[in-house]
């Protein structure tokens, strides 16, 4: 078994409406040093260790988990 952590974020050139709200809210709490805040998704997948995990997960991302037109992604695999 392996655990895969997938991180999905909006492409940097796009307006992240949620991130904008979070940034404003943090500033209102007095955190004036906040330069930017972006909201993304974190997807945890537990998968049988097939030896092809990297390829499989990349395919999952492109087919379902991520909209490649608007989102970037990366993932890390924890085997064991």
């Amino acid at each position: 078994m392996a655990k895969v952590n997938v991180y999905v974020t909006l492409k940097p050139e796009l307006l992240d409406a949620q991130g904008k709200v979070v940034k404003a809210a943090l500033e209102n709490l007095g955190y004036n040093g906040v330069q930017d805040a972006r909201v993304g998704k974190f997807i945890e997948i537990v998968i049988a260790d097939s030896g092809n995990i990297e390829k499989d997960v990349d395919e999952m991302c492109r087919k379902l988990l991520v909209n490649p037109n608007t989102e970037d992604y990366r993932f890390e695999i924890e085997k064991g």
Partner: protein, 229 residues
């Protein structure tokens, strides 16, 4: 003419589309379950509003992998007419059947209100009964309605006249203030290159009777009925 209204789990706008077609255009209409792969006998497919699969992951992101989507792709390849409204528009974009994507409103909030949209293309299968430049009053109700595409795609859409509807003010000016969600170019609806697939965020099927406050959606439904197949 026979319409089909696709039902995904979570498609709550299915009934609105069904009643609008049946009661307002008088055409025959049937629900189609999303696991179906047979669209024979249908002339026009409606992907209705709602929140298919709860809009979890992304609006329309799960529904695009339903069996019906491949069937719709073939249906459209054969010249069949397809319209996605609200969530249906999101699904068509996710499935790559229409250019661009829909992002969360720039307000980061759900917005439900009547808006004005201008008909920029009145030669499509979805707008032949409208006048060019006509201003329609239609309701919107969405969280993820900010139309986005890259500048190359936008240029193509503009050049080819594939922008169907644009958010505008009372007089038909596509101003920033009239844009309810931050859509690029105030775009509220587009058609594909062939002209037989359309998507729009405003809901024409909710504006089809005087008692509902507007009948401006009728011209869009009637355009679909009367356009040559």
């Amino acid at each position: 003419m026979k319409f089909g209204v696709v039902r995904f789990p979570g498609s709550s706008g299915d009934k609105d589309a069904y009643f609008a077609v049946r009661d307002v255009t008088g055409q025959s209409v049937e629900y189609i379950w999303h696991e179906s792969t047979d669209l024979s006998g249908f002339d026009c497919i409606i992907l209705p509003g709602g929140a298919s699969y709860g809009d979890y992951l992304r609006a329309g992101g799960v529904a695009k992998n339903s069996p019906i989507i491949d069937a719709i792709r073939k249906f459209a390849d054969g010249g069949g007419r397809v319209i996605g409204i609200g969530n249906g528009f999101q699904i068509l974009c996710e499935a790559g059947l229409l250019p661009g994507d829909l992002l969360m409103n720039n307000t980061a909030r759900f917005r439900c209100l009547p808006v004005k949209v201008r008909v920029d293309n009145n030669t499509s299968d979805f707008s032949g009964k409208c006048c060019k430049g006509q201003v329609l009053s239609l309701p919107i109700a969405h969280l993820t309605g900010r139309y986005y595409c890259d500048s190359d795609t936008l240029n193509v859409l503009e050049k080819d006249g594939r922008v169907l509807l644009r958010y505008c003010d009372e007089s038909g000016n596509a101003t920033e203030q009239a844009n309810p969600n931050g859509s690029v170019g105030n775009i509220a609806g587009v058609v594909n290159e062939r002209g037989n697939i359309a998507g729009m965020m405003p809901h024409p099927e909710r504006a089809v009777e005087d008692i509902l406050g507007s009948t401006d959606g009728v011209c869009i439904l009637q355009s679909m009925v009367e356009a040559r197949l």
